[in-house]
Symmetry: C2
Subunit: 224 residues, 2 copies
DNA sequence: GTGCAACTTTGCACTGAGGGCAACTTAAAT
DNA sequence: ATTTAAGTTGCCCTCAGTGCAAAGTTGCAC
């Protein structure tokens, strides 16, 4: 089974089985992305992906529960590293600052390239929104965990709202920054474009931190 | 077809066809909700719903593209009225205040009852999250429209981020308030519970308006 | 190495979603 | 009443997703 317990020992050398599984997983997402490029969203089947990845249809489902899930694993990968970055921040830092730092740290070509391509390929069609929304929501849940940990165990019921609202808003703003960036730049990955993405991420978190005070405050960002 | 142009004349008396369609639509969601109650999420098929609603399986798909969609129409209904309320607010009012008003206006038994039941019935299982997330996202898009209209046509590129981030955050906070409320109260629809929901909605918008300043500000809400 | 145990892949078969199409039924219009 | 448009249904197709059991691999002990 794919879902059995992995060694959970980060220090140990990955066994052959682990490597094979990782490779297969990668082959699947590569194949899926390739077909998306070649045929467009909705115009290929799970069997197509399996063939392209050199595995059987049935095995595909051992790894992913759907075509969408396979493609969304790209988004998951990105967001997971974002969460990793977030957890590295000092616990006494304001969450918004941590989020800013974690996100801008990821605004480099290698990390955003697959994401950018995926977005440009699927922007027009709602066939991917499902898993994409889920990926963001999964990330939100993890930000929620981090936020709750930071507030310590002393949280009464009031903090529930605070933590829920904050984590949700952080995700919403991160999403907003990415969306605006894609709308403006498309698949442009030049340093100038990436620096604009960083600025957008910073600005969106700043908006959150200042309570969205009137649009006059918009003069903050002048980056293109 | 279901998707043909409705008269779009709100003054005219609804024709027989319109009435039939509305009735069928309602019968479907009723049947779906009934089956959800009776069998639990994931334990019934489209055919079951069609049978219960007294229509053919094929006709079901003329109205909804999936079981999820049929159930999510409940959420859609709620959020659509929320948007309606939002559009009724004066255009020069701060958006956060408008959102607060629109949402709290809907915190009455008739409006939230179906929603509350749906949430309690599906909270445990991820079988509904798809359409639910979509419903919220659809609502976000509409808040986005309202926000853009309010900022007038003079919006340069900076406003894009502002509007995206703001509408996304509003939705996130509305969601947060509802989620906290369901977690605390479950399907409780007593006036005390509803007033707590109202307070939560107000508080979450307030958090957004104050930039989530330190948890010390949490003492605002003391409502149970 | 040999062999066993655990894990993984695959084929097969089955249920059910979703949609195209044409025949049929019902409401509206003249 | 007759024609026309809108809606319903049955038939049939493809494809998603899953359980099961028979293979094929890898890990480990001897």
């Amino acid at each position: 089974m794919t879902s059995s317990t992995p060694p959970a020992d980060p220090g140990a050398p990955p066994s052959r089985r682990e490597l094979n599984k990782a490779a297969t997983r990668q082959a699947i997402t590569d194949a899926a992305l390739g077909l998306l490029r070649a045929k467009g969203p909705g115009n290929f089947t799970v069997e197509d992906i399996a063939d392209a990845a050199g595995i059987s249809r049935r095995t595909f489902f051992n790894y992913f529960s759907s075509t969408d899930a396979a493609l969304a694993s790209i988004v998951h990968g990105f967001l997971d590293t974002a969460i990793q970055q977030l957890r590295l921040r000092p616990a006494d830092e304001p969450l918004l600052v941590s989020a800013q730092a974690a996100l801008t740290a990821l605004a480099d070509p290698e990390a955003v390239a697959p994401l950018a391509e995926l977005f440009t390929l699927t922007q027009q069609s709602p066939l991917m929104q499902h898993s994409e929304l889920e990926a963001w929501d999964h990330c939100r849940a993890q930000v929620f965990d981090v936020a709750r940990e930071r507030l310590g165990g002393s949280h009464g019921q009031q903090e529930d709202l605070y933590v829920h609202a904050l984590s949700g808003s952080i995700i919403a703003c991160g999403k907003a920054a990415m969306e605006v960036w894609f709308n403006r730049r498309g698949p442009d990955l030049t340093p100038a474009s990436l620096s604009e993405l960083r600025q957008l991420l910073i600005d969106s978190m700043a908006l959150l931190g200042t309570g969205f005070t009137t649009p006059a405050s918009l003069s903050t960002s002048r980056s293109s």
